[in-house]
Amino acid sequence: MNFDFFRVLSYWDVLLNGLGITLLFTVSAVIIGTLLGFIISLMRVSPFRVLKWPARLYVEFFRGTPMLIQLFWIFFCLPLVIGRDIPPYVSVLLAMVLFMAAITSETFRGSLKSISGEQHDACVALGLNFRVKAINVIFPQALLRSIPPLMSNNVALFKESALISSVGIADLMFVSSNISSSTARPVEFLTAAAIIYFVVAFPATRLVDLVEKRLLLRFT
C-alpha cells in the first residue's frame, strides 16, 4: 500500500474552486435563509393561528425529514408541480435556504422566548408601546442571544451543503469524489477534502465559543 499525497497538490486549484462553489452556496443560503427564518419565527410567536400553523408545519416538516429528500424533492418534483424547468443552481439554493430558514427560525424563536417575563413587566411599567417594546427592548436582546447559535447554524449548513454534490453541483464534495474515481486514489483526495472542510469549520466553531463567552460576560 502506498499513498501519494503529492498528487493532491497538482489538483489544488480544482479543489479550491470546489470550495469556492461550496462557500458561494453556503453564504447565499445563510443570508436569505436567516432573513426568512426571522420572519418565520415571528409568525410562530404571533397570536394569529393563520400565521402560526403554516409556519409550525413548515418548520416541523423541514426539521423532520432528511435534507437529501428535501433536495431531491425540490430538484426532481418541484418542476413537475409548477410545470416548468428550474435551473439546477436555483433548486439547490432553494433547498438550502428552506433548510436554513427552518433551523434559524427555531433559534430565533428560542431566544425570543428566553426573554424573561420581568423584562415584559418593565416595559409595561415604563409605558412602552408595542412598537418600542419590540424594536428597542425585545428584538435587540433576542438577536444578541441568537448570535452564537446562528453561527452554529451557519457551520451546520456549510457541512450539509456537501449534499448538493448528489445532484451534480460541482462543489468541494463533488470535485473531490470525481478526482478520486478518475485517479483511483480515494484515500488521498477524500482525506484532503475532509481536511479542507475541517479547516473551515473548526475555527468557526471556536469562534462560536468565543463569542458566546463574550456575550455571556457582558449581558448576564
Partner: protein, 274 residues
Amino acid sequence: MNMVDNINKQQEEETAKYQGAEDNSPLIEFKGVTKRFGDTCVMDEMDLKMKAGDRLVIIGPSGSGKSTLLRVLMGLEKIDKGEIFFGSNPYITVDRKGRTRTDMSVRSKIGMVFQHYTLFPHLSVMSNLTLSPVKVRGMARSEAEDRAREYLARLGMEDKLYSYPGKLSGGQKQRVAIARALMLEPKLMLFDEVTSALDPEMVAEIEKVMLDLAKQKMAMMIVTHDMYFAKKIATESVFIAGGKVIEKCDPEIMFNEPKQERTRDFLDKVLHLK
C-alpha cells in the same frame, strides 16, 4: 406588651422627620377587587384606600397577595371583579364580558420598581433612562439626557451614565431602576420588595434613596419584608392575609399594639421577639 420597643426608641426621631403628609385627597381606592389565579383567590373582594400624601406599607405573609396588589395597580395583572379609582376617576374596571379595562392615561402616572431590577441589559444606563421619555413621551433627546444626568447625580450615580447594567452592583442597579421610574415623573411609585434581592450591605443605600423620596412627599406603595424600614418610612400601614385587608392603621399602632390577633401573630413571628 411592646414588641419593638427597643427599635422604637432608636428610630423615633428619624421617623418624625418623614411624617407630616398633609394631602388628604384620595389617590387610590380599591373597591371589591377580586383576583384569582386558577382556583386560588389572591385578592378577595378587597377594599383599600390611599391618600395622596400617604406612604402606604403593605405587609403580610408570603402568598397573601401583596405583590399581586401592586401588579394589578400597575396594570400587569387583570382582575376578575371590582374597580380601582385614581383620584376620582375610574382607573381599572371590569366590563360586562369580564374583560379588564385600564385607563392608559392614568397608568402613565404610576411608576414601579421591581425586586430583580429589570434593567434592559443591552442598553446603557443612560439609554435605560431615556428610552421611554424619548420614544413614548416624545421628549427631546437632549432634554431627556439632561434630566437623566440630574436624577443619576441625585442618586450618586453620575459616573455610571454610560455603563451597562451587567457591570453594576445590585444596589447600583436598583438605584438606576428607581431613577428610570422617576424619569416619567409619576404621581405614585410602587416598590415591590426592592431590597429582597440585595446583599445586606446594599439594602441601606436603597432605603436611603426611598427615604429621600419620602422627604419630597412622593406618594408610595411599598411591599417589604423589612419591618424596621416599614415602620420608618410609612405614614400608613396595612396588613394583608388570604387576599383580604385584615388591618389598616397608623404604623405606630400597627407595629406597637396591633388590634388584630393575626397581625400580632405575624409580627411576632417575623420580629422573632416571642
